[in-house]
Amino acid sequence: MRVLIYVSLLAAIAMGCGGSQNDPAATSSDNVQNVPQRHVVEISEMKFVPDVLNVNKGDTIVWINKDMVDHDVTEEATHSWTSSKIPAGGSWEMIATKSEAYFCSLHVVMKGKIVVDGNEVAMSDELPSVTQCGAP
């Protein structure tokens, strides 16, 4: 009888511990969803990888230039922001606020897209106009 009580007690403690571990985990998961994330886009072999990046508003995006030539990251529609030149081996980051298409103004065929909170934006197939870019 004593043994039965002892085993029951151990089982109850184990279940209790399990429960107390599960609840904080769920809370932690909720927090992860709300905490801004950091995403990396590699510029490699003259491409943005990945070329389409899904993020949440407020997340940070870091572009890392792994090519041997300079690149930049410039908003495509109105050139409202640009990284300016990112040298080989360099990087640049910004906080995502809305869905936007971007390109490299030095190599205009290189294009990418930021999709914020699932809101799609179109990428152009045209040659982007050559104008002065805005400040980052």
Partner: protein
């Protein structure tokens, strides 16, 4: 000349194909020092074309493209120079690099004889043809001939940039029509 691009492509491609075929027929090989020389010369030639464009053109797209060619090809030359220095190799003149240079002299003379929109068209047509020919030469001659693994890897890494330059040149060419 109804289609200048065909004219430029014909000259450049036949010249490089001639060289490649001649090497194959005569079972000649390029040493790594000669491969390095051809790679550097090919980049220097496109920089020279871009310098002419900067002197002669007022078109924003042409000027922007020319600036990119100068920056990118200088970056490739620096990588190649750093590598041959590390490997203790001195780039060596050879039949391929000499032929590239003599053909480039003729092209530069033709480009300098033109002005305005005629120059813009001739420059970008030549860029399209030149990059097509160089991509073919790098993939079909230089990469197979390179023995050192780092030199081979450098040449392989240059190909995406050359292909991007070609796509960019074709976009500018389309916008001028």
């Amino acid at each position: 000349m109804k289609n200048p691009e065909i004219f430029w492509s014909g000259i450049i491609l036949s010249s490089l194909l001639c060289i490649t075929t001649s090497f194959a027929q005569n079972a000649q090989t390029l040493s790594d020092a000669e491969v390095a020389s051809v790679a550097v010369v090919a980049n220097q030639i496109d920089i020279a074309y871009a310098e002419i464009a900067k002197e002669k053109s007022k078109d924003a797209e042409i000027l922007k493209f020319a600036e990119t060619m100068i920056n990118d090809h200088n970056a490739v030359i620096k990588q190649a120079s750093d590598l041959v220095k590390k490997l203790g190799v001195t780039p060596k003149d050879n039949d391929v690099s000499k032929k590239l240079l003599s053909d480039a002299d003729a092209t530069k003379k033709t480009l300098r004889s033109k002005s305005g929109s005629e120059f813009n068209k001739a420059y970008i047509d030549n860029e399209v043809a030149y990059h097509k020919a160089v991509i073919e030469a790098v993939e079909g001659l230089l990469i197979p001939e390179a023995e050192n693994a780092e030199l081979k890897a450098l040449l392989q890494n240059v190909v995406p940039a050359l292909k991007t330059h070609l796509a960019h040149a074709e976009m500018v060419q389309k916008s001028l029509k």
